[in-house]
């Protein structure tokens, strides 16, 4: 057997990240006492550097390396860019929170870096082994991160719950992968695709069962009904800065997982997984939107909203066309931008000893800080899918691809749920704008980072709504090559 050195170029971002992680770790050990800012600064440099690498690789022809287990394509790069950028924003938002609550900041930054590394590997993975590797590297730091506030039992509980649920999901996934391996005799996605068209005739039962387990595992990670039970509890229990992170970048990674496993590895089973996803998507939209109405806790409410949003994202995959996949990608990226803003505001409004949790904590925000209220308003209307915000175009994209695929009843149903959903987003706006504040003192943000982050984030929601063309085309292009 000949050994040829693999081409390292596709994995250069991951290698940069891992190298920098060592640097950050050392810097935290030796220099952090003199200057607290250095770890933060280096972490941001790492994430931004990796993002820049991903951006500069964009347009590079698709390349598969490491013996067919690692792929560089525009879809992976696009998701990587947004994973890294959203992590940058998470850090900007959570810096004052971490400081005020005396959370071990070095550990927090490192865990985010490890998680970001895992996600980068995951979105580029092209065999079941690398997929699983990436999945675990990105999930384990998340469990640890939630437990970082060790003086709060509720955080411990959330960490535990997340860990157990995550382990079950991984189990499902592995079992499903082993069944597919049994049928196709390969773990490599490229080979699975070619094998499957043959074995779909001979081993239909085995493949279908494998598909169901794989889908269940991936949907678990995304937090889609009926595998959504952990989402509200974990969102609620985790410290706000951690919820912010869990609700953003991992969604992109989970989406990549679903995309690689179902869309790319198993196109031969499309009719089967289409039915599966239809059921799951309808259930998600229903459960998410209806239960969110009853929530008083804003983190729980947004958790249910994320369940619903994942349902909408799945609509794009259900269409089963490149256009649909592109729309789903646009949807998930949009969702991450909105979720980043919403939890970002929650994080920066939490102060020392005060964890913002109730919807009522937003009362009268307009008179206390009109700018923050305006940003939250934009994000809420965007989540509700009201134009002219980017959320509207995200919804139109997935619905349009469904109508094109001649499925008209599903978009109609989806819109009905969207209207039910609008109610709870409106409620947040109502609380901010119509109600009198409980405390009259204006909210002043001391941190420049957080102020900048929320302004960029909120305005991005608005301006991407006015000029969505570039983003839509980037997402669509990823599936046309």
């Amino acid at each position: 057997m000949n050994f040829t050195a693999p081409d390292l170029l596709p994995a250069i971002g991951e290698m940069f990240t891992i190298g920098m992680i060592c640097v950050v770790m050392l810097a935290y050990l030796f220099f952090d006492k003199q200057n607290r800012g250095i770890t933060y600064f280096l972490t941001q440099v790492t994430l931004l550097g990796a993002a820049v690498i991903a951006i500069s690789l964009y347009g590079h022809p698709t390349e598969i390396t490491f013996d067919g287990s690692f792929i560089l394509d525009s879809e992976a790069l696009l998701l990587k860019i947004f994973i890294l950028l959203s992590s940058v924003f998470v850090l900007m938002y959570s810096r004052p929170y971490i400081r005020d609550n005396e959370i071990a900041h070095g550990e927090f930054y490192l865990l985010i870096l490890f998680s970001a590394l895992g996600m980068q590997v995951l979105v580029s993975a092209y065999s079941f082994i690398t997929l699983y590797l990436g999945l675990e590297v990105f999930s384990l730091p998340l469990y640890a991160m939630i437990a970082l506030r060790h003086n709060r039992p509720v955080c411990q509980e959330a960490a535990m719950k997340y860990f157990i649920m995550g382990a079950i999901a991984s189990g499902f996934l592995l079992y499903g992968m082993s069944l597919v391996y049994g049928a196709c005799q390969s773990l490599n996605i490229q080979e699975i695709v070619s094998m499957m068209s043959l074995s779909v005739e001979s081993q239909p039962m085995m493949l279908t069962v494998g598909l169901v387990f794989i889908a269940a595992g991936a949907l678990f990670k995304l937090g889609v009904a009926p595998f959504h039970m952990w989402v509200p509890d974990v969102y609620e229990g985790a410290p706000n800065a951690m919820t912010l992170f869990i609700s953003t970048a991992p969604k992109l990674a989970g989406f990549a997982l679903l995309l690689r496993l179902l869309v790319e590895a198993m196109p031969a089973l499309f009719p089967q997984w289409q039915y599966l996803l239809i059921a799951v998507a309808v259930l998600s939209m229903a459960v998410g939107n209806i239960i969110a109405i009853a929530q008083d806790n804003i983190k729980r409410m947004l958790a249910y909203s994320s369940i619903a949003n994942m349902g909408y994202m799945l609509l794009g995959l259900i269409a089963g066309t490149p256009r649909g996949y592109g729309s789903a990608t646009f949807y998930i990226i949009t969702y991450v931008i909105m979720s980043l803003g919403a939890f970002g505001i929650i994080t920066i409004l939490s102060r020392k000893g005060f964890e913002l949790e109730k919807i009522d904590d937003f009362k009268g925000l307009n008179s206390r800080n009109p700018w923050l209220a305006l940003m939250m308003l934009l994000i809420m209307f965007s989540m509700a899918g009201v134009p002219p915000s980017v959320g509207f175009f995200a919804k139109v994209g997935v619905l349009e691809s469904l109508v094109r695929a001649d499925i008209v009843w599903l978009p109609a149903l989806a819109l009905v749920f969207a209207i039910i959903g609008a109610y709870y987003y409106l409620r947040v706006v109502k609380v901010m704008y119509f109600d009198e504040p409980i405390e009259k003192t204006p909210v002043i943000l001391e941190s420049f980072d957080a102020q900048l982050a929320i302004s960029i984030n909120g305005l991005a929601v608005f301006f991407l709504g006015l000029f969505p063309t570039t983003m839509i085309e980037l997402c669509q292009k990823a599936f046309l090559a």
Partner: protein, 505 residues
């Protein structure tokens, strides 16, 4: 002459940008600054309508002042604007209304003034966008986007039950519009882009047409509002601040009718023909039943809100009775008259009802009540106001010489050709609207001054009578010289009628 200036875009974006500037004009200590910015913006916008009106060619039914830029090329969405005889009037109506509302809100609004003015200006821009869009997605963006400022307007400056009213308003209209989006996306699969005019030539089977008609109808019926989806309107109107009520009555309701004219009738002519009977029945219920409901109201704003529903019923009647007329007489002449009557009715209603809402706003400002019983003998204390309000009340009733008469007369005349029964029911409005309007007028303005509150009232102040005088002028002007309007939309209505009565099967 004005071809290189993107006039239509300016009329949309000047108020939106002015509104954004206004939003950052500062808190209530700097309220006057916000008011001045708003007034200036509204005035510039009004000036922009002058070249629009002068440059408009009345002799053609084609879209004019067209602007077309790629927006989302991937989906075939364009930023495409244009006006014909129908929309140009709506655009001018919107700018006039906003200008008046800004003046009328000068004193009554004292809290969050900058945000209030910003909401109205942004709303104005979006409403003009609705009337100017030639691209269905662009239309939908403006149509839905406008809900945001209106929601805030009702919720932040409204009356006691404002939260309930604002959420009901939002969800109701949001629900209505959802299926319209599906219909638009469906139509898109039959053409190459989202251009509304290219939808006109799409061939559709009867079943498709009926589904599309119903999807559009839900959106428009909620906005108009037609019976039985009108229940959001009394709440929204009652709780909204005076300016909000005016915009709701004068403009937002018209968007529904505009939608029917722009989408439903030309895109699905056969379904419109097929379901005309149902639509006529719904319109007649609105005219008769809602008018009876209006008689029993004790809250002035609620009463006017119900009268709005009844009047809009007249307009929808005009839109659909034409199918019966054409079926019966076989030529378009009478249908033409009726539809033009509907248009005049729609514009006239904007002025008379808008003025009445402002009038109630004037009373509310003085006594902080909208209950009819809280007043009595106001005419003794506010003679000038009483005289002006009388004029608007009579326009609402449809007295000859006022704008209200022209539309109603034409519609009733036209509906004779369709069926005597329709005319009989439609004509009850003449009695019923007189009953509720004049009875309310009598209880509020005549009689003895009963309470101290009324005793202390003072007559109109500068901003108030400016606005009311302008409206009074418009009401009489249209009543005496309706041709000013008719001549503008005559050709376009003819074209519309042709499209709407040519079968696609």
């Amino acid at each position: 002459m004005f071809t290189d200036v993107p006039l239509l875009s300016l009329i949309i974006w000047v108020p939106i940008i002015g509104g954004i500037i206004c939003m950052f004009a500062g808190d209530d200590r700097k309220a006057t600054r916000a008011r001045c910015i708003a007034l200036l913006t509204a005035f510039i916008n009004l000036l922009l309508c002058v070249p629009l009106y002068l440059g408009f060619d009345k002799s053609t039914s084609n879209m004019q002042f067209i602007e077309n830029i790629d927006w989302i090329a991937k989906f075939g969405v364009h930023y495409q604007l244009g006006v014909d005889g129908i929309s140009v009037l709506m655009v001018i109506l919107s700018t006039i209304t906003t200008f008046l509302v800004v003046i009328a809100s000068w004193r009554p609004i004292k809290k969050n003034v900058a945000q209030y003015m910003a909401a109205f200006l942004i709303m104005q821009g979006m409403m003009v966008g609705v009337f100017e869009s030639l691209d269905a997605i662009l239309f939908y963006v403006f149509w839905e986007g406008m809900l945001i400022p209106m929601y805030l307007c009702i919720g932040m400056w409204g009356g006691a039950r404002r939260t309930y009213a604002s959420i009901k308003f939002f969800l109701y209209t949001f629900l209505g519009s959802a299926l319209m989006l599906i219909a638009i996306l469906y139509l898109r699969t039959k053409t190459t882009d989202f251009n509304i005019l290219s939808f006109y030539s799409v061939q559709l089977t009867m079943t498709e047409q009926v589904y599309i008609f119903i999807a559009f109808l839900l959106a428009f019926a909620v906005k108009i509002p037609m019976w039985p989806v009108h229940t959001w309107l009394p709440d929204a109107h009652t709780e909204a601040p005076a300016g909000g009520s005016v915009v709701l009555a004068a403009l937002m309701l018209k968007m529904g009718i505009y939608g029917i004219l722009r989408f439903s009738m030309p895109i699905t002519p056969d379904a419109s023909q097929h379901l005309a009977g149902l639509m006529i029945v719904l319109s007649l219920i609105a005219i008769v039943y809602i008018a009876v409901v209006a008689v029993g109201q004790t809250d002035m704003k609620r009463l006017i809100a119900y009268s709005s529903v009844a009047h809009m019923g007249f307009t929808t009647l005009a839109c659909f009775v034409i199918y019966k007329i054409v079926a019966k007489t076989g030529d378009l002449h009478d249908a033409y008259l009726t539809l033009e009557g509907g248009m005049v009715q729609m514009l006239s209603h904007a002025f008379s009802t808008g003025a009445m809402f402002l009038g109630v706003g004037v009373l509310y400002e003085r006594l902080h009540s909208r209950e009819i019983n809280a007043f009595g003998g106001v005419a003794h204390k506010m003679p000038l106001f009483a005289a002006l309000f009388m004029l608007f009340a009579l326009a609402n009733v449809g007295l000859p010489g006022t704008s209200g008469f022209v539309g109603e007369f034409l519609i009733i005349l036209g509906s004779f050709k369709a069926s005597y029964v329709i005319t009989l029911f439609a004509a009850t409005t003449l009695v019923l609207s007189a009953t509720y309007t004049l009875w309310m007028y009598k209880r509020v303005f005549f009689g003895k001054v009963m309470t101290q509150g009324v005793e202390d009232m003072h007559d109109l102040e500068m901003p108030e009578y400016t606005v009311l005088f302008i409206l009074a002028f418009l009401v009489i002007f249209i009543g005496v010289y309706p041709n000013a309007l008719l001549s503008v939309f005559h050709t376009s209505i003819g074209h519309l009628l042709e499209l709407s009565t040519t079968s696609k099967l």
